[in-house]
Amino acid sequence: MPTINLRGAQKNYGVNSANAVSNLDLEIRDGEFMCLLGPSGCGKTTTLRMIAGLENLSGGEIRIGDRVVDSIFDGVFVPPEKREMGLVFQSYALWPHLTIERNTDFGLRLRKLPKAEREARVEKVMQALDIAKYRDRYPSQLSGGQQQRVALARMLAVNPGVLLLDEPLSNLDARLRLEMRAELKRLHKEFKTTIVFVTHDQWEAMTLATTIAVMNEGTLQQMGTPNDIYDRPANRFVAEFVGSPPINILSFDKKGTSDVAKEAEAYLSARYPSLRGIGSVGIRPEALSYATRKEDVPQGSFSGKMVVTGILPTGGSWILELKSDSHTLFLTTHALPRLELGEKVRFWAPPEALHVFDKDGQRIAEADKLLRSTKLN
């Protein structure tokens, strides 16, 4: 399938309501596995439905390759049934009155393929998804995971150029979800389909996607590889949305400044005087380390003294809650912490672990280079 292009796509549900999606530019390339990631209500499902043609635009246009499929300016609207896409609904939307086989066969019948070919393709996709043994059952007789695979099979059978998935794993239990993630990744390789996947689950996005588009309040926040999104969040929203436990934010605002933030401000202005207009600094919990003795803290790192107020085992790692007079930090460690509650420790982070944002919450790109050039000893 050629590249799908959204240009200035916009959607509002009524004259006076806020935009569900505003001025969205998005490019989805052939063979890509793209995740639309964001909190609920951020417009990601609406975006998916606009691509499918189930939602009309309120502004902008959508192209597939050179062909305009949806445009207010040109007065063009290609209905969903003519867009040759696949969409797996969050509710699966299996047709309750048709057997599993007929559900899978539905699209092929519409395309008036010869019977032999239809049967072969249904067989192949049912085998691939391990649902052949349920062929004569009705959807209500299957479990959630089985239904989910039928919903996938139904779409894969017609071999769509792009497969759209609307939180298809959210109704499954944890174990099944893991299996289906692996399954999806395998299918993406096997069928070489472009996949657009909507989720609010950051781990799902991280593990599956080749590209992640983070959305919030109807606008695109950042688009990039999973590593990009995690390591170099474009703004504070992305930084705070991705990562668990969430990133520690030290805000330099006049009102919200804490003692730790003041130390960070002093640290940065002393070492990198060229950096100006800093609004806040973020440090991921796993980028923080702790030391009980001052000499264990590397020279040139950002550090401070705090009190251990909580040790939370998560199995395999521990989350430490550290408190100063006016700030709380979270720190993740993979070695058993030999600490007592109330004990004083020093936390430290290398300068390149600091994410520096301006007063509008946007990442200051120059800071990255500066901070990375510093060597610790």
Partner: protein, 617 residues
């Protein structure tokens, strides 16, 4: 990936940069989207159809009320169709206004209030016994006590006359008269029997509405009050009753609205003593060609109906506030009746006997007895059902062998069948359009216009049809006396139930199955045929069956719009009543009751729902 290198850059700030489409472009695009599928077209067509079938007749009768009617030109010194206050004046202010409007209004109100009070008294007790106590045979009573509502109301009226008819009226005497006791007129006819019968007929409303509210009631609310030291009666008065108020009010108002349009019972029981209610007054005005006055009376009935149901809608809205209180902790706690267990069961059984057993038994016995109340073997006969060569002026065969019955039955099946088929299908279509069309105004209009007949009692609606279709208008020929007008009127009258069923079915279905088919490549027609209709098969059957049942036992529409050639079972039996062929009339009513009852049972079986959902149909 293009964004690998510069992903750290935030995208340009939203809005402001995108080209804003001109309003012409927006409209062109919307038109394109709306015209892509027949949904909107169907919506527009059905909207036009229902405007013509529902709105126009109502406007027409309201106009009749204020315009010079045919034959009054000379007296009023104006031309036919000119505006005149004459009919308003005649109905509301003239010396005859008392007979035309005010006394019927008074009678309607007193009968309704009496029926409401009586049915509330009986209904609340029964509802409580059924849903919250350990009375014997609760489950059986839960169904049995609803039966009166499945039977046509005037079944009871006929049973009553069979028992209490006195020498005031000719024909076969009632059983008591035949046994030597002449019931006084106030027992035999008029306000007293009408009130009793309507109360018994509508008690199931209270049992259903109040009972379901009781069952949903959260026992924890009761328990909390008890724990704080409240006594049983304090709990009842301060906790349960206030929370039950919406359900009680709602059933009161529904009963009132139903009484307003009730025709059969006051017709059978009121006429002998000239006891008139609004519906019979309207009928008389129509029968005597007083179309102007009929218009005023019909419009008044509509107005009262609309006001009542608007109050109800308001109450329902308020009742929603209470619903949030109910928690998942709600459970059905039973009170032990102890010593009262047997008397309570006796009470329920008595009400059942009075409202179902006795009337049906009386009617049945009356059809196999030559002389009333003479229980000797030689007095029993099956002649009235299957006899031949009887020595009577008309109806020389038993009713089952009479061609008239079968003609009426055929008419009924055809007219009611056609109308319910049409309204069932239209209901689903309306539901589809209301839920799916991107044109919001269309959706709102369709929803409201199809609900409109609900606010208009059947008899007033029939009068409206008569007013509009009695004469040729435009391309439409005069329809009075045809099957068409009956089918159309019945269809329009059933639309509230049909469209509500359709809307709720489509809401339940949701968009997903259809959108999935759309994604798979199915166009509109294909989606309807292979997805929507097969899934909605069940509700389509209900949508046809429920109007069919209520059409079979319906009287008020037919009595105004039917003529002898379009006789249906109800009008046929009514005419037999008029001719004093008591046995035959009762036999026909029993047949209707049997069809209505069995049909309701079938509908319940098919849809696995309780009657409560079809309430009011």
């Amino acid at each position: 990936m293009a964004f690998l290198s510069d992903s750290a850059k935030a995208p340009p700030a939203a809005s402001g940069e995108a080209a804003v489409p001109s309003s012409w472009q927006v409209w062109r695009y919307r038109l394109k989207v709306a015209s892509r599928e027949p949904t909107t077209l169907i919506g527009v067509l059905t909207a036009l159809l229902f405007t013509y079938l529902i709105v126009v007749p109502i406007i027409s009768i309201v106009l009749d009320a204020v315009r010079v009617q045919f034959g009054h030109e000379r007296r009023l010194g104006k031309d036919f169709g000119d505006l005149t206050p004459y009919y308003l004046d005649r109905t509301f202010l003239s010396p005859v206004s008392v007979d035309l409007f005010w006394r019927p209004l008074f009678n309607t109100l007193t009968v309704a209030v009496g029926a409401i009070l009586l049915s509330l008294l009986i209904g609340t007790i029964l509802a409580w016994l059924i849903s919250r106590t350990d009375m014997f045979g609760r489950r059986w009573f839960a169904t049995a006590l609803i039966v009166p509502y499945m039977l046509p109301a005037w079944t009871f009226a006929l049973a009553w006359t069979t028992l209490f008819k006195n020498r005031t009226v000719g024909g076969q005497p009632g059983w008591f008269e035949a046994l030597g006791w002449t019931p006084p007129d106030w027992v035999a006819y008029g306000r007293f029997p009408i009130t009793i019968i309507l109360a018994l007929h509508y008690t199931p409303f209270v049992i259903l509405l109040f009972g379901s509210a009781l069952r949903r009631f959260d026992s924890q609310l009761e328990d909390s009050a008890r724990i704080l030291g409240a006594k049983r009666y304090q709990v009842a008065m301060q906790i349960i009753l206030p929370l039950m108020r919406p359900a009680l009010m709602s059933s009161m108002i529904l009963i009132f609205a139903k009484c307003l349009g009730e025709f059969g019972v006051p017709y059978v029981l009121g006429l002998p003593v000239k006891f008139e209610v609004l519906s019979t007054s309207l009928f008389r005005s129509i029968a005597s060609r007083q179309t102007g006055v009929a218009g005023v009376v019909a419009a008044s009935i509509m107005l009262i109906g609309i006001i009542t149901l608007m109050i109800d809608a308001r109450l329902v809205r308020e009742a929603r506030r209470f619903v949030t209180i109910g928690s998942k902790g709600s459970m059905n706690r039973q009170s032990r009746l102890g010593k009262l267990r047997l008397p309570a069961t006796g009470f329920a059984a008595t009400i059942f006997m009075l409202s179902v057993g006795l009337p049906l038994l009386t009617l049945f016995l009356s059809t196999i007895m030559k002389l009333p109340a003479q229980f000797t073997l030689d007095n029993f006969t099956l002649d009235y059902w299957i006899g031949q060569d009887l020595h009577t002026v008309a109806l020389q065969t038993g009713v089952l062998l009479s061609p008239d019955l079968w003609a009426a039955a055929k008419n009924t099946l055809m007219i009611v069948g056609l109308a319910s088929l049409a309204s069932g299908i239209l209901g689903l279509l309306v539901g589809y359009v209301v839920i799916r069309t991107p044109v919001r105004a269309l959706s709102v209009y369709l929803r409201q216009v199809t609900f409109l007949p609900y606010l208009v009692p059947g008899i007033a609606f029939a009068a409206a049809y008569l007013s509009l279709f009695a004469v040729p208008r435009g391309p439409m020929p005069a329809l009075y006396g045809t099957v068409t007008i009956l089918v159309l009127a019945l269809m329009a009258d059933q639309m509230p139930y049909a469209s509500r069923a359709g809307i709720s079915a489509m809401t339940q279905l949701g968009k997903d199955p259809e959108e999935a088919a759309q994604i798979a490549g199915a166009g509109w027609f294909r989606r309807m045929m292979s997805i929507v209709i097969p899934i909605q098969k069940g509700s389509l059957v209900t949508g046809v069956l429920l109007p069919f049942i209520s059409g079979i036992k319906g009287l008020s529409l037919f009595v105004i719009l039917a003529v002898p050639s379009t006789d249906v079972l109800t009008t046929y039996s009514l005419r037999l009543v008029d001719y004093h062929y008591t046995q035959a009339a009762n036999a026909v009513v029993l047949i209707i009751a049997a069809i209505a009852y069995l049909g309701t049972l079938a509908a319940q079986k098919l849809t696995k729902t309780n009657l409560a959902e079809g309430l009011g149909s």
